[in-house]
Symmetry: C2
Subunit: 197 residues, 2 copies
Amino acid sequence: MLEFWFDFSSPYAYFASLEVDALAARHGRQAVWRPFLLGVAFKATGMGPLPQMPMRGDYAVRDWERIARLRGVSYALPEPFPFNSLQLCRAFYWLDAQDPGAAKALAQAALAAVFQQSIPLLTPESVAALASAQGHDHGAVLAALAAPEVKERCRQATDEALAKGVFGAPMLLVDGEPFWGWDRLPMAEQWLAQGGW
Amino acid sequence: MLEFWFDFSSPYAYFASLEVDALAARHGRQAVWRPFLLGVAFKATGMGPLPQMPMRGDYAVRDWERIARLRGVSYALPEPFPFNSLQLCRAFYWLDAQDPGAAKALAQAALAAVFQQSIPLLTPESVAALASAQGHDHGAVLAALAAPEVKERCRQATDEALAKGVFGAPMLLVDGEPFWGWDRLPMAEQWLAQGGW
């Protein structure tokens, strides 16, 4: 199992999302996309959003820009940043229960809107608008985002992340072996290729 | 200028120390070794030693072991860990003012003792013993470690690190461009090779 844990508000997760499927495919695998709420993990580890941390925040902003230039991908921070990705997490797991492919397509569209067009998708309305552009029923999305069982799925996913030691985003679990950070994708790939070492 | 900032108590810095000179040499450059006190940077950024952080600590311990296996290098954590690297920092800058090559040789011997033989070099006596094994006068080392001007050099180096945005170890500054972490050595090398991007 190759799990790709991410938060919709993480630039490093955005960059990883552009690479993870091709990485998996090179080894005949498929990545399972698993959003969770990084803010909950931060509370558990005593961390906080990078931009609010002295020195580390400046480094991260610079690092995101140079990764985008290196990879030649569109990138801009949303405003506000970070934003609460709760509604996106709920929308993802609502779709995922019906059609994982559609959930992943929504996730990709969401990450593009957030990190290419600077649109923070934090309200139910903005998430419903995105989903309806993907062919989903606007009213059904809004109803789903308010449904207790959908809220519960996002909560459970975050609990599962914490139980598996996922404290940051992105984190790849390659048959249980954790690789944290966009910059560890090459090591994760080597692990996949060799079956560990 | 290629600056290699590190703390003698950082496993990631130890792994980087084994690679940084060859990396620099591949591009006709020399790395300037610059120890500093990571604990002071932690206070400035609100961070703490990895082993004391929930989840992140477990990940780091696992990660250090797999990096050692991947690179095929000896590795063991010192006890206690982390340890106060103040005396090593002072010994380094005392020697560095006279003979940078001898200072680097001492640093390499220190990192090997710490991370290959699990010896925490935290007392003046243990540092003097290491230095005398390198051919330095035992009494002169002990005297230097207690000298105000030597203490001041380590303090100034740490101040310089903070002023340059060095919040973690290892950090490479490639003509001022910061690369944080052992796992960013490949990116630092690409920056060196291309002169940035």
